[in-house]
Every structure is written in C-alpha cells, then in structure tokens.
C-alpha cells in the first residue's frame, strides 16, 4: 500500500468515525472483497456469505470508535468475518452430513494455472473442519503469518501451525487421487 493509499484509508476511517456515511461506504468498498471472500470460502454459500459479510460491516459500524488505525481495521474485519462464519457453521444442524463443495460459482476470476485443480482445491478446503479451514484461508487467501493468524483466531501459534501442516498434508493426499486421508482437526486423519 502506498503512502497515498494509506492516508486515504486513515482519512476515511477518521471521517467515518465522525459520522460521515460516505466515508464509511468507502471503507466498505475497500474491504468488501476481503470480507466476502473469507465468508464465502468458509461457508461455501453465496447467500450466507453475503449475510455474514453484511453483518461484519454492521458490527464495524457499531464499533467504529474501537478501531484505532487502518491496520487495526484489517485485523478487526478479518477476526469478525471468520468468527461470524465459524458461528454460522456451528449453527448448522449438528448431525446432518452436508456436502460443502458444490457451489459451481465459487471460483474467482480466471487465474493462471489449472482451473479444474483450483476448483477441486476449493472444494477440498470446504471439507476441512471450521478452525482448520479458517487457518488455511487466512494463510493463503490473506497471506498472514502464523503469528498473525493466531492473533486473529485467538488460538495458540502451535495450534495454527499444526492445523496448517495437517491440512496441507490432507489436501496433498486427497489431490493425489488416492482414498486420501481427511484432516479431522484433532491431529489425526481418517
């Protein structure tokens, strides 16, 4: 982020805190892609993701006074978005088996690389337990380091690293096309 862009965000944040609706809308536009993408990949459902993303910004609007800087804003939004998504997942009926990776439109814009592989990866990520899924998203979508992920998710760093290691192993195995070991989130695989 250039100095100009950073000052622009700070300016919008300060004006939004002062009650400027246009400034808040500017903050929403700047960060909606990040918040929505986190929710979408956690929930694998566009409607639920939109709902969670809206709720995250609603909470931001209520608690703007607590946000101290643009860096804090990013941290805050990531934290709230993942928490809301995890809470939403946990409210799903407990004993139903729900396939999580059937949304054909979940892929982003065409990117370099194999689109079929990317779609398969998106689906496999949807099979990870919620906490592990959040860790993987924060690492590879948001490019956060394990220490930062630990702060966002209020989780010990070693737990973050464990989730990463085992999730990658599970994804690698399942991409290999074998019967594949699914990561259960308890340090073991099936």
């Amino acid at each position: 982020m250039t100095d100009g862009a950073a000052c622009s965000v700070c300016d919008s944040l300060a004006r939004a805190r002062a009650g400027d609706a246009a400034a808040f809308a500017d903050l929403v536009r700047r960060h909606q892609r990040m918040v929505y993408s986190l929710a979408l990949r956690m929930l694998a459902d566009r409607h639920k993701a939109e709902d969670v993303a809206q709720e995250a910004f609603l909470q931001l609007h209520r608690k703007l006074a607590l946000v101290q800087s643009d860096v804090h804003l990013l941290f805050w939004l990531r934290q709230v978005a993942t928490r809301l998504a995890i809470d939403r997942l946990r409210r799903e009926p407990r004993y139903e088996v729900v396939p999580l990776h059937e949304d054909p439109g979940i892929a982003g814009e065409p990117a370099a690389g194999d689109p079929l592989l990317q779609r398969r990866l998106s689906g496999l990520i949807g099979d990870l337990p919620p906490a592990a899924r959040a860790v993987v998203l924060l690492r590879y979508q948001e490019d956060l380091e394990p220490v930062e992920i630990a702060a966002v998710l209020d989780m010990p760093v070693n737990t973050v690293k464990s989730h990463l290691k085992r999730s990658l192993a599970s994804l690698r195995d399942r991409l290999g096309g074998t019967s594949g070991a699914a990561y259960r989130g308890d340090g073991q695989s099936t």
């Binding site: 946990r90 407990r94 396939p99 999580l100 337990p129 989780m155 699914a182 259960r184 989130g185």
Partner: protein, 182 residues
C-alpha cells in the same frame, strides 16, 4: 448491546417469567441428594449454577484467555448448569437406585435420547438426552457410568451441542472432529 428497559417492559418481562420458569423447570432435573453415593465416594464434585450465578461467573471470564473465551461461547443462552460427579476407589461401587431415579425423569415427555453408548472395552455407559420444546432444545442431560466414576450433568437453557463439544481443545480435553465428510 445494552437493552434499555422501561418500567412497562420490565412489567411485561416479569409477567412472562413464571412461564419461562415453568419451561426451564421441566428441563431441570430433580437431582437426589445422592447421600449413598457421597458416603462411598473418595471424591465428590457438586456444582449448582443457576442463572444469576452463571451471569456472575460470566463477568469474571477473561476473553483474552482461550479457555475463558470458550466458556463464554458455550454458556450463551444457558440458564442453569448442574453437575454431580462421584469418584470411587473400587469399580462400580455405586448403587443403582439413585441413578435410576434420574433415568425415570428422562422418560418424561419432551426428553429424547440422543446418544446411548455402551463400551465393553472401556466398561462405560454414556447416555445423552436432549429436551426439545417446539423445535428448540432447552435441556441437556448426560449420565456417564464409568468403572470408578459416576457423573450426571444437567444443563438448562438454549443448548448448542457444537459449542459444548468445542470445549475440547480446552480444559485439557483432546480435540476430535465428528463431521463425517465422505
């Protein structure tokens, strides 16, 4: 978000309280004194937390601590937690009569047996019951018979089994994923 309660709202809520209390009372088991168990037990845990005590405890939970944060999430909507746990020095030293009196209450309307586990290998029985009112769960009961420990847990209020289960990973309990995504 703090709710502003006017005098009128307070009166309405007070009028509704007996009805809520009646619903809660059905989900709250009448636990016997378990004197017979207590006299034989080497260790007893007896916890009675009604709504005011839970609220008081919640104020002292530190959200910066993962264990406290997990507890805060688990107790959202819960209005009562009752635990009776007895540890013995020898196997199956506890009489069944007191246990059966609790089981009889769980055959009352509204209670459904969610899980019944009998493990020959571990020699334990665990029964999990849930009380459903309309389409909402407002009570949970667990009866666990292990060789040297007998435990009853009764939780009253809005039950979220997922949140209770996520106590695993905290309190020294290993994590375990239950979702079968095959």
């Amino acid at each position: 978000m703090r709710a502003r309660i006017s005098c009128l709202m307070a009166l309405v809520i007070l009028a509704l309280l007996p009805q809520q209390a009646a619903l809660a009372a059905d989900a709250k088991l009448a636990l016997p004194s378990f004197q017979a168990l207590e006299s034989k037990a080497s260790e007893t845990v007896s916890i009675t937390l009604d709504s005011p005590l839970i609220a008081m405890a919640a104020r002292f939970l530190d959200s910066d601590k993962p264990e406290d944060a997990a507890a805060r999430r688990a107790i959202a909507g819960i209005t009562g937690i009752y635990v009776r746990s007895f540890t013995f020095d020898s196997d199956f030293a506890y009489p069944k009569a007191d246990v059966d009196s609790v089981r009889r209450q769980l055959s009352a309307p509204g209670w459904q047996q969610l899980v019944q586990v009998h493990s020959r290998k571990e020699r334990n029985d665990v029964d999990v019951y849930i009380r459903v009112e309309g389409n909402r769960a407002n009570g949970l009961a667990i009866i666990a018979s292990e060789p040297r420990e007998f435990t009853i847990v009764n939780i009253v209020g809005s039950i979220d089994l997922q949140k209770l289960h996520e106590l695993e990973g905290h309190f020294g309990i290993p994590q375990m994923d239950l979702t079968d995504k095959k």
